[in-house]
């Protein structure tokens, strides 16, 4: 497993400050990164270190000010938003800190969504199977507001794997959960990750969580200050 699925070269993100003086804020400064298929990588750092921005750029949700990002051989910076969206649908899955379920859809419908968008034959069957796997077979007809935080995150994980992604991006997946629930969610995430042989890119400031990944990248003020492999 040495093929890089994600390659970032000299990524920078600079935004103009709205103060009229033409000042700029550097969020990312020259990030170089390679992530191999099947690898799990944690990006850690203090608040404001730029880890969430990096995640957005690596996943093709945002574009860098300069530098290049290749996802599964596709050069994201050369693509239009239209093409990036299509690529996301094919290659990428997400789990967010704030769950990001659609409030107007039931748990089952939320999980069915990627399959429906892809035009799958039986999105309902696949989604039901995934919900069973995350332990929510009894809650399929419930709306997000009727579910606990942990349950919502499990639905979000089921939805993420319903996309059958090559790369799964997770942004502080336990940030809104208590320790016990968070631990269970992490177990579930890694279990599914292994089962589906997905590449995992995880942003967190939870060192315990980071330590369950293959590699930990530490960011500070928009630069990579340390990279370490985690012993099995």
């Amino acid at each position: 497993m040495t093929t890089p699925v994600l390659v970032a070269r000299r990524i920078a993100k600079v935004v103009a400050l709205n103060d009229g003086a033409g000042e700029e804020l550097v969020i990312l400064a020259g990030i170089d990164l390679e992530i191999n298929a099947g690898e799990s990588v944690a990006v850690v750092g203090a608040s404001g270190s730029g880890k969430t921005t990096l995640l957005g750029i690596l996943a093709g949700l945002d574009t860098p000010s300069s530098g290049t990002v290749a996802l599964d051989g596709h050069e994201l910076t050369q693509l239009s938003e239209e093409q990036r969206a299509r690529l996301r649908g094919e290659l990428v899955g997400f789990v967010f800190q704030s769950f990001q379920l659609l409030g107007s859809l039931t748990a089952l419908e939320n999980v069915m969504l990627p399959g429906e968008l892809r035009g799958d034959k039986d999105p309902r069957g696949d989604a039901s199977a995934l919900l069973l796997r995350v332990g929510l077979a009894e809650r399929t007809a419930h709306y997000p507001r009727q579910l606990s935080g942990g349950e919502q995150q499990r639905v979000a994980i089921a939805r993420a794997f319903a996309s059958r992604p090559k790369v799964l991006f997770a942004d502080e997946p336990t940030g809104n959960l208590d320790t016990v629930t968070g631990a269970r969610i992490i177990d579930l995430l890694f279990e599914l990750n292994a089962a589906y042989a997905t590449t995992l890119v995880l942003v967190t400031h939870d060192t315990q969580l980071a330590d369950r990944c293959d590699r930990v990248i530490e960011l500070d003020a928009g630069r990579i200050v340390a990279t370490r492999a985690v012993a099995e």
Binding site: A85, G103, G119
Partner: protein, 834 residues
Amino acid sequence: MTTMRFSLVLRFLMRDWRAGELRLLVSAVLLAVGTVTGISLFVDRLTSALLSESATYLAADRLVASTHSIPDEFSEAAARLGLETTRTMTFPSMVFAGDRNQLVSVKAVGDGYPLRGVLRIAATPFAPGVVIDELPPAGEVWLDSRLFPALGIVVGDIVTVGVAQLRVGRVLSGEPDRGGSFFDFGPRLLMRIVDVPRTEVVRPGSRISYRLLVAGSGEALDQLYRELESQLGADYRWMGIRDSSASIGSALERAQAFLLLGGMLAVLLAGVAVALAAQRYARRHYDHVAILKTLGVTPAEIQWGYLALLAVIGGVSTVIGLLLGGVLHLLIVAALSAYMPLDLPLPGYKPLLVGAVSGCVCLAAFGLPPVMGLKSISPMRVIRRDLADAGVSRWLTYGCAALGTLGLLLWYTSSWRLTVWSVAGVGGVSILFGALAHLLLRAGRRVGMQAGNGWRLALAGLARRRGDSVAQILIFGLAIMLLLIMILLRTALLDEWQAQMPAGAPNHFLMNVAPEQVKPLQEMVNGRVERMGELYPMTRGRVVAVNGVATKTWEATRREPDSGDPSLDSERNLSWTADLPANNTIEAGDWWSTNLSEPAVSLEESYAGTAGIKIGDMMEFDIGGLPVNARVASIRRVEWDSMAPNFFILFSPGALNDVPATYMTSFYLSLQQKAFLNELLAAFPTVTVIEVDQVMAQIQSIVSRVTQAVQLILGLVLVAGCLVLIASIQASGDERLREHALLRALGASRRLVRGALGAEFALLGLFAGGIAAFGAEATVFALNQQVFELSSRLHPWVWLAGPALGAAIVCGIGLWSTRALVASPPMLVLRELG
């Protein structure tokens, strides 16, 4: 995945619907289509009913009137165009029964009369009438109730008209085209036109009004007019309902203008509701779109999907809205059937088209821009919620709305002038209201610092969301302003209509009083009638020359070619008096003193103006073959509305000493005193009574129906306005509710939260109402000046009612539409709104 499949769009739509996301938008479109369709259907049916009912006042759709017999070519041309025709002749004549006689107004009618409206007969004199679908057969006459006691006859007796003996067949209690012409006053005798030659009363020089009645399709009538136009000349007058009675015509025109205005306001309000609902829908879908984008949905697919979604919403809502509009108008008709015993004709297809197009245009112009902005929502929003709402540019949103409104208004009114005025008015008012609302909020904030808990919270909230608050004050203000304008205009129109017929104004004219009857008649009526006017001598004559120039030549150079007024040499009523009549004022020259060196005349100002005659001009009259010369001494302004005898031409006393004259006067009789007329006519059988009250009753019945229609439209617009308020409160409600849920989570009591919400809505309403009062006064002032040509004054009650109404309505609706969410646990609210 190239395009999002339609079935998927439908599935999303169903899920949105089930989750209640679409209710507001769909209700707004339903409101737009339903209101517009309902109003259009009702207006369409009412207008055609009013027009056809008004046509019954002519007994035809159009007619040709003349003092000369109407040529056969006219009726032949009408027949060729497939139009129905019939003829009538109206003339005064004496009718005899035994030793009694009475001056009557004879109406001789041809087959098919009346072409519009109905004849009514009564079983006995003065009994209520019933409709009859027959005409008197040849040799028979039908008489007004009053003629039976006056002539001392019963049904079946024989009366003599001219030299013909005719049988009295029935009691005539009503005819559609009663009143109007000078010849047409006095008790009626209805007979067949075929009997006229037998009477031998029609001779050269007889005063007869000939009419050719025409009825049929509007196109054929217009075509007939084009064919006859060149042959009509000065001798024949082409008349429709608008010409036959100025009061009925202007009442109809105002009613249509008013209904149109009502329809336009409803459309504008519905558009605002659609815009608010679409904005709320779009805002609630920002996250939705961001998530869809992370799942691989492209911007183009987002755009296509929402477009398809809107199209489905538009299509379904339009169909349901049309049905609702139909039901709405049926409800209106049913509710008003007791007050509006009009036989409403079936509507055309146009109201349905108007409703459907209005709904689609409203949705496209007001609803599309915010929803179309969704495609630019950044997917990064899933990570950073604070990312600015991309949305569409405000210019595009407002531009589309303005364009849509403009298009719809232009379509409804078919008038650039009305459209531009309306748009400019609303635009100007919005800018002005925005500025005023801004000022009020700033002032409120300052005052609020000293206020109690709830009020301080409310004012702080309003000031914090200043942009939203200004917009809401603007919308509420506009809605309340429209309501106030409606009420003010309704009052103004009613007042004016009533002013046209002042209470207690003389309602009877006495004419044809012989000089020797003047004294005994005065003695008899003294104390029996009210407001008895002066007795004016009256004769008829024509002007033959001015300053020695023959009238034809004189007019050729001075008269406007199409003035429509009778020409100078047509026969007119002439009178003389020593004193200036009560309702007259001198505009130029001097009223005569007692010792005049030569005969003098005083002319009414418009008559003098049209004829181009000035003070000092010498006029030559032909009065029954007698030449009379008189110099113009003064020009008078006459109050024609006074209902007293008024004259275009008044002579100085003694000028017409040698001319035979009869006298006329006016007085007031209430309905209960009406029987006195029989007594009067029995004593003075040759005197003619004109019952103006009957003509007035006809006009008043039209006016009252028009007023009811106007009130109804007012009600509908009010409902539309209230629904806009609900939409607006809901659209802005999320943020407000989140704050109050937070407050409650922090320990504020439900009572405090409810109080703060109530105070906030009340303040919004108060500000909006104050601005509305200002706007309504200004608009009504402008409308009165420019459109309705009425005088204007300030309405103090509006300045109290506006703010009070605003606070009450906004507070009531606001608390009502937020009641469920205030009652639900704060955690649920916070979770739902994220």
